[in-house]
Each structure stands twice: as structure tokens, then as C-alpha cells.
């Protein structure tokens, strides 16, 4: 069997905060194959962004990877020297962020910035790098690319900045693109444009994508597989169709039932998840979701379940691992 494009094994990342040490990523394992789109969903504090930053080795100063392995094309990223990692970030792995306002430098022309990875990592001359940026602008749907390349970031709208960031990320032809909430700051019609662009680029260049989002609708339309994170852990993993049709973790199950849907016919009450997102400094014993879970059994309070296969998915839940279906269980209530 050939190597995975990206493989994480039992990754642990700690943040040292005033409140104490927080296990932001706590034993996360998953893989990404060439060309596929993997979604990571979760709420604030779920560890989804920290997982991405661990892969990129771009953690905040308070953060540190304390265990596990992150292999990209068979190379262990944790062992790379900073200069090697830097070269990899500029060429074979790209990352785009939620806020394109802060990711572009306001004092340089956009064409010059977008051409920068080519100058640094591919030793392309300045004029050629800017010409390449113009071509990339055209590819990502920025109108009047020649004129736009001479402008500064403040003259771009939010959607255009995100396009410019995507153009920069793609300039070196990476095999992996990590997009952290790439459309969260954008309006819906612009979100649709950007998602359409990402889908198109994935098809055209075969760039594998990790799409991090809290929006289940975005995952449904974009991702081949999905990982659901809660309190620094993966609680469910599977093919997108399976996870949405038959969620095997109560968190996924309740999340899907708590959100209003555009295509809903009846206007009943929503079924909210009680309580608050987890306080990472004070997590409960046993299963981390049990205090908000309507399916919890005694065992959940004492022992934390492992991530195990249940039907077509992996899930971290004693109830479904014990053979109970959430659907039938909820009908009893």
C-alpha cells in the first residue's frame, strides 16, 4: 500500500495559558489522500484550528506539539528543521485563513505579494512572478487582473482578498491546501463564489483540501469525508453521506437536529443541545460530551470511549458502540 499524502497519528498539542495547561489537540489521528477533500467540523474550542496549525507548525507561542507523528508524503514534519518546514509551507502545503484582511500585507501591491512564493521558492524573477500572479488572478476569477495586480489589498473587497489568498496559495502548485473557515467572514453570495472556485480548483489541479468549518451545509456540499471534533478529540469520522444520513455520535446527531434548515417544511421548535461548548480547562471525567448528551449511560461518566468502528463510521461513543441506534433510542423518548 502506498503512503498517504498526509497522516496524523495520535497527535497531542498543548497550550500553556494563564488558566493552566490545555490539551487543545488530544490524540488526533487521521489521513488525507491525494486529491480528496476532507472536512473538519467543530465549534470553538474543539481543536479544529489547532490541528491545522499543528500540521503547519504555525502554533501560537503558547502552543507545543508534545506527542504523535505528522507525516506528509512519508516525511515526518515534526523532525524537519524550521528552514525545511518554511520551504514546504511555501510550496507543497498552502493554508488560507478566515480573515483575508489580516493575511495580506497592506503595504505591498497584491500582484507582488501573490508572486512572492514563486520568487522565494522557485527563484522566478520579479517581472515574471508578477506576470504569473496576473495569470493566477485570472484563474481565480479576479476581474481586470492586470489592473488589480497593481493595487493594494485595501482596494480589494473581502471576497477578492480571499481569491487573492487562494491565488497565492496555489501559485506553487501545492498537493495540499488547508482552508481554515475560508468563507466565514464573507457574505453568502460571495461564499458561494469562493466554494465554487475551491471545488473547481480541486477538480482541475487535484489539490487535496482540508476544509475546516463550523458550517455543516458547507461540508455537505464540498467534502468527501468528514471529521467531527469535540473538546480536542475526533468524536466521529466517516464518508460525508454516511455521517449526515446516520450520525453515530450523539454530538453529530444533535448538531444536525439543532440547526434550522432552509428546506424545512414545518416550523416547529428546534431541538437545541443543552449546556455550553466545553471549557477546555475543566473537562468532565469520562466522555467529554456526556454532560450535554441526551443518550448518556452510567459508563460514560467513568470511562472515556475510544474511537471505534460502528457500521460505516468511526465513533467515540459507548452507546452506539454497544449496538444501540441513536434513531431508535430517540424515538423512545
Amino acid at each position: 500500500m502506498d503512503a498517504r499524502l498526509l497522516e496524523l497519528e495520535d497527535v497531542h498539542t498543548q497550550l500553556t495559558l494563564r488558566e493552566g495547561v490545555v490539551r487543545a489537540v488530544d490524540g488526533v489521528s487521521f489521513h488525507v489522500d491525494a486529491g480528496e477533500t476532507l472536512g473538519i467540523v467543530g465549534e470553538s474550542g474543539s481543536g479544529k484550528s489547532m490541528t491545522a496549525l499543528s500540521i503547519m507548525r504555525l502554533l501560537p507561542r503558547s502552543g507545543r506539539i508534545i506527542g504523535g507523528s505528522i507525516r506528509f508524503k512519508g516525511r515526518e514534519l515534526r523532525d524537519l528543521a524550521e528552514a525545511e518546514m518554511e520551504a514546504l509551507r511555501g510550496t507543497d502545503i498552502a493554508m488560507i485563513f478566515q480573515d483575508p484582511m489580516t493575511s495580506l500585507n497592506p503595504v505591498y501591491r497584491t500582484g507582488w505579494q501573490v508572486g512572492e512564493p514563486l520568487r522565494i521558492h522557485r527563484h522566478v524573477k520579479t517581472a515574471a512572478s508578477i506576470a504569473a500572479a496576473v495569470a493566477l488572478f485570472k484563474k481565480v476569477g479576479i476581474p481586470e487582473p492586470e489592473k488589480r495586480a497593481t493595487q493594494y489589498p485595501h482596494m480589494f473587497s473581502g471576497g477578492m482578498r480571499q481569491r487573492a489568498m487562494i491565488a497565492m496559495g496555489l501559485s506553487t502548485g501545492p498537493s495540499l491546501l488547508i482552508a481554515d473557515e475560508p468563507t466565514t467572514a464573507l457574505d453568502v453570495t460571495i461564499q458561494a463564489q469562493i466554494l465554487d472556485l475551491l471545488r473547481h480548483l480541486n477538480r482541475e489541479f487535484g489539490t487535496a483540501t482540508i476544509l475546516i468549518t463550523h458550517n455543516l451545509g458547507v461540508v455537505a456540499g464540498m467534502c468527501d469525508r468528514v471529521i467531527v471534533m469535540y473538546a480536542g478529540r475526533i468524536v466521529e469520522e466517516g464518508r460525508t453521506e454516511d455521517v449526515f444520513a446516520n450520525p453515530e455520535h450523539p454530538y453529530t446527531w444533535s448538531l444536525l437536529r439543532s440547526i434550522p434548515r432552509l428546506d424545512a417544511e414545518v416550523r416547529g421548535r428546534l431541538q437545541p443541545i443543552e449546556g455550553s461548548p466545553p471549557d477546555m480547562a475543566h473537562l468532565p471525567e469520562g466522555c467529554k460530551f456526556r454532560t450535554r448528551c441526551s443518550f448518556a449511560i452510567d459508563r460514560c461518566a467513568t470511562e472515556e470511549p475510544e474511537l471505534r468502528q460502528v457500521r460505516s463510521q468511526l465513533t467515540r461513543c459507548w452507546v452506539t458502540q454497544g449496538g444501540v441506534s441513536l434513531e431508535s433510542q430517540s424515538d423512545l423518548d
Partner: protein
């Protein structure tokens, strides 16, 4: 003209000046006519006005007693400014806003303060909208004091406890401070503060968009329960159309300072008539891969246009896939497309 004949008014037949006759409870609670709120763009040393941001640029709207009117649109379309203009938290440039038949824009500061007992606002950011140095009891008490609704100290404390209970928080929390609460709890406190004056009308400005997905449903349900219990009327402003559809009876869609479509919530989603509404709806992802993969999308070209220099004629024409030369020549009016309840401003509706 008698007021009762104006019951379903939106734009048609709105008299140019104040409504004749006394307001009755079957009339719209809030009526907005030809409302404009422009902000000057100043430049140079002497701060000369060089342009106007036409945030709200001629809006007619009626909000019925007990309903939730959803107001949707993209950032910069003027939906928040419209909400604030109705409460006179920003000063409109021209037009009329009637609340229970009285024109708020022609009221002095004394009468408007008394009217504010009946109106309140819930803000998007529960982190920024609560004073971090005040206890929860202090924050709620202040809202009571401003309207001189506190009474004796004991009555004040009882009312604070009652407000916390209404929003599903323990009265013990009165002595705690905002930083001790989660986002969802803070929004509950924001709602309690809005309820302090016992209002009949609340402008909810993006009340759930800063909250985690799992918390949004709690707050939406709370707002619905409170509406039934206290007979509230809501103007619910949000960019998330799934949330707006869920909570609203009717929905108005704004684009660059104008309402371009208004209709019953289900009708709007089933049969959008304005091309902008159609594209907006098609852009919303549905959390179901079987539906989402096969969906036809109308992907709009370009960005939202600037409210400083809106295009001639229809403001949406520069992004519209149905635009014709006529759309550039004159601006289409908001007109009935179905049953007098569904209005759209488009020459070539879907």
C-alpha cells in the same frame, strides 16, 4: 382615509402625512414610510461633505402586531441601519416612522424617551454589549433606572430576579460579572436587559450570529417562547437565511439601501421573484449531501455595489443575470406580484 383600510399596507396608498384617526391594535405596530438614512463622507481639513453613504435609501415597511418580520441582506445593505433608524438610535435623514400611530421622528427627547419603554434592541455581540465592570444585577437595574421603573429597592431586586428567570438564568447570577458567563449566557443577559422596560417591540440585530452552532438553537427557541409569552413583535435582522426563515412570519430582503422583495416566509422560499432573492437562496448551503450535491446554483458575478454611488435604475442590475436595458433607465417600484402579500421590485421577475 380610515386606518383600518390600511391594515395590510406595505407601500401602496400610504398617505404622505401622518395617519388619520387613532391607532388601534389591529393596525401595524410599526410603519416606515420613505425612510432615508444617509451618512456624510467628509474629507479635507474643514471636513467638507464630499459624498453620502445612502445606507437606507427610501424604505417603506409595515410590521404587524405580534409578528416576526425578518430582514435579510448582505453586509452593507443597510439592514442594521434600518433597524437602528426605526428606534432612532441613529437619526434618519428623512421619512416617517410611526409606532402605534405616532411619528417617532417628529418627537422631542422627552416623549421619545417614554416611547422607548415600548421598544428595545438585542445586539449581535454579547461580549461587546455588556459593561464588564458592572454586575448582571447592575446592568439590568440600570435599564430599569433609566426608565424610572425601579420602584423600591426590593421591587428592583424582584424585577431583576424575574428578568433572569424569564431568560432561563438563575436569579443567583445577579451578583456575577459578564466575564463569568459563556457566549450563550451573555446573550440571555442581553435579552433580559432588552426585556427590562417591558417592551412590545424588539429589534433583534443578528442575535445569534456570534454564537456557536450548538447554542444558536437555544437562543432562537428562547426568543420564540418569549414572543408567545409576552406578545412581542420582532424585527429580526440577520444574514443567515436559514435562521430567518425558521423564525419569521414575513421576510423583507434588502439590497443596497432598498427593500427589493417582501413576502410571507414560506412563499418567499418557495417562489422568490426578485433575481437577487433567488440567487441568495440558492447560495445557502443545505446540511444534506444528497440535496447539496445536485443543487443548481445561481452564482452571481461581482461584489455588492457601493451605497455611495449606486447604479442608475435598478441597483442590482450590475450583478443580475436577467438585466435588460430598461433596468438601467428607471428604478422598478416595489409592487404586488401575488395576492397583495408578495411584493417585488423587478421588471423581469423570476
Amino acid at each position: 382615509m380610515s386606518r383600518s383600510s390600511l391594515k395590510v399596507i406595505l407601500t401602496e396608498a400610504a398617505p404622505a402625512h401622518g395617519p388619520a384617526g387613532a391607532w388601534t391594535s389591529s393596525d401595524p405596530l410599526v410603519e416606515v414610510r420613505a425612510l432615508k438614512t444617509w451618512f456624510p463622507v467628509r474629507s479635507g481639513v474643514i471636513g467638507r461633505t464630499v459624498a453620502q453613504v445612502r445606507a437606507v435609501d427610501g424604505v417603506d415597511l409595515a410590521i404587524r402586531q405580534g409578528e416576526t418580520l425578518g430582514l435579510v441582506g448582505e453586509s452593507g445593505c443597510g439592514k442594521s441601519t434600518l433597524g437602528r433608524s426605526i428606534l432612532r438610535l441613529v437619526e434618519p435623514t428623512s421619512g416617517e416612522v410611526f409606532f402605534k400611530g405616532r411619528d417617532l421622528l417628529r418627537m422631542g427627547s422627552g416623549p421619545i424617551r417614554r416611547m422607548r419603554r415600548e421598544m428595545a434592541m438585542i445586539f449581535q455581540d454579547p461580549f461587546a454589549s455588556l459593561d464588564p465592570r458592572q454586575s448582571i444585577g447592575g446592568i439590568l437595574g440600570e435599564a430599569l433606572d433609566i426608565q424610572r421603573l425601579s420602584g423600591t429597592r426590593r421591587m428592583r431586586e424582584e424585577r431583576i430576579a424575574e428578568l433572569l428567570d424569564l431568560v432561563g438564568l438563575s436569579p443567583r447570577f445577579a451578583s456575577r460579572y459578564p466575564h463569568e458567563f459563556s457566549g450563550g449566557q451573555r446573550q440571555r443577559i442581553g435579552i433580559a436587559r432588552a426585556l427590562a422596560v417591558d417592551p412590545s417591540f424588539i429589534v433583534c440585530d443578528e442575535p445569534v450570529s456570534a454564537l456557536d452552532v450548538s447554542i444558536q438553537a437555544q437562543i432562537i427557541n428562547l426568543l420564540q417562547q418569549l414572543q408567545e409569552r409576552l406578545h412581542l413583535t420582532y424585527l429580526f435582522i440577520a444574514h443567515d437565511l436559514s435562521v430567518v426563515k425558521h423564525i419569521s412570519d414575513r421576510i423583507a430582503v434588502m439590497y443596497v439601501g432598498k427593500v427589493i422583495e417582501i413576502s410571507g416566509a414560506r412563499e418567499l422560499y418557495a417562489r422568490p421573484r426578485h433575481p437577487y432573492t433567488g440567487s441568495l437562496l440558492s447560495a445557502i448551503p443545505i446540511p444534506d449531501p444528497r440535496i447539496e450535491r445536485g443543487r443548481e446554483r445561481i452564482i452571481l458575478k461581482g461584489d455588492v455595489v457601493s451605497p455611495v454611488n449606486p447604479p442608475s435604475g435598478c441597483r442590482f442590475r450590475t450583478r443580475c443575470f436577467k438585466a435588460q436595458p430598461r433596468c438601467a433607465e428607471s428604478e422598478p417600484a416595489l409592487e404586488t406580484v401575488r395576492d397583495g402579500e408578495h411584493l417585488a421590485a423587478c421588471y423581469f421577475p423570476l
